[in-house]
Symmetry: C2
Subunit: 278 residues, 2 copies
């Protein structure tokens, strides 16, 4: 993580290198701001605590891989609030140094998940060996810094721009229905006027039908859920936290539902009210 | 994966090397049987399809890390049935070649998740560098095969036995509440007489309050849930499959509940009736 000075201009903390998909999401959510790359997820949240960044952009779920459990856990533990959500189409690009062509390539570096999402490409190019690397953007950085003339990388368009790489081919991913949902978060609670979605997390008392009763507080008030996710509670095996997205902002019905949920749940925390992504 | 002969004696397919935690789980669930190690999870299910193994043992959730999404997806896709469940305490052991002592160690190999679960050990031994390896049991195999005298590995007790390593220290994990839940699965549906737990997966029609209605089929019949998990549906962004465990075997109430669920859900599949783990 970068130095421990306090913020002068707006900085957005992300996990990963410059050019990561989180960087691309940050550029869409907060144009014209600078990113603060952090090696680990917990450092993204620390950057908010220590005022090294004004806000942060974190992935929370992917339509192929599922939830990002570590980020859900941190949203529950840490004192942060969701300002906006974004659904980013994950497009994988084949990137190499300028002058290098597809025919020159013998190796392609990327994160194992990205390599696995581009299997058809490697089936069509059996002369190219996929090589696992710690990070998608980092693989572009590596190819460019080492001036490799027979190797490429798979990463975001942003990574190509960031490190001066050339995109040889776009849309390498096998499944085009590949989206990642990101949250823009900050320390201070703030609700924009058009907020119409609420994310919350709660735990349940260990009684029969507890989850059904918890969901009834929304159903009985015609508040629709778009998502439910469960996460294990550390130190209490086989107990879970439930993360729920409700398609409603902060209004009378929602407040009543949350009061009602407080009667049933052991713990309730609202982690954001924000406008629904298109 | 091993050759494509058909099975003579009982073989249990597992993902990972011999000595992996799945091997330890297989030994507890099916004592005196041989394991068939498979490199990838999908190969474990293929081994059942191609009769290379009679059954398989797969992890489905961990009390610190959460669900094993890939295995939940495969349980839904593939034609298999759960026979039993097991809750295995995950104990990390420091393993080295015989004659090597703790003082000799400068490097310790293991899977990144295992290394991360033993942070206190590395804090107490700053002279030892943690080195990421593809597999816990594989790291023991590596240390033993390379006759390393200044390196150890972190893995299961089974891995030490398997490769002739010596356990230098047990219980390296920071959090003792570290359990993994495993399923014993086979192709043929079979229900043991004392089965009192049912696992199923269903999708929902995209209507308001659909999940609440789905859970009502159990709650209205006093059938208690021990677990709910959601997984993204491939090719249908922001739609989910729901995995539910019901604390009840196959009886009249359960059959009525499943019929009722069929009225509400787009898809319903029972993936097992089995006795609850202690």
């Amino acid at each position: 993580m970068a130095g421990s000075y306090t913020v002068r201009r707006v900085k957005v903390a992300i996990q990963g290198e410059r050019g990561a998909f989180s960087h691309q999401a940050a550029s869409e959510l907060m144009p014209k701001t600078d990113v603060l790359p952090c090696a680990r997820s917990v450092e993204v949240f620390d950057a908010l605590d220590y005022l090294q960044a004004n806000c942060a952009v974190i992935p929370v779920e992917n339509t192929l891989a599922g939830p990002v459990g570590e980020h859900l856990d941190l949203l529950c533990e840490k004192d942060v609030f969701i300002l906006r959500e974004l659904r980013l189409r994950i497009e994988h690009n084949l990137i190499a140094a300028p002058g290098v062509t597809l025919k020159d390539l013998r190796q392609v570096f990327s994160h194992p998940v990205a390599l696995d999402q581009c299997r058809n490409f490697f089936r069509q190019h059996i002369e190219i060996e996929p090589v696992a690397f710690y990070d998608t953007a980092g693989s572009v950085k590596h190819v460019m810094a080492s001036c490799l003339s027979d190797a490429g990388a798979i990463a975001s368009r942003q990574a190509a721009e960031e490190y001066g790489g050339k995109i040889l081919q776009s849309g390498l991913e096998d499944d085009k229905q590949n989206f990642t949902r990101f949250f823009l978060i900050q320390k201070k609670k703030k609700i924009v006027p058009n907020a119409d979605k609420t994310s919350l997390v709660f735990s349940l008392k260990n009684v029969a039908g507890a989850l059904f009763k918890a969901l009834s507080v929304f159903a009985l008030r015609d508040l629709d859920l778009s998502k439910i996710e469960s996460r294990p509670v550390r130190g209490k095996p086989w107990e879970y936290m439930f993360y729920v997205d409700v398609l409603r902002g902060e209004d009378e019905a929602m407040r009543k539902a949350l009061d009602h949920l407080g009667e049933i749940a052991g713990f309730v925390k609202v982690i954001g009210d924000y406008p629904r992504a298109k």
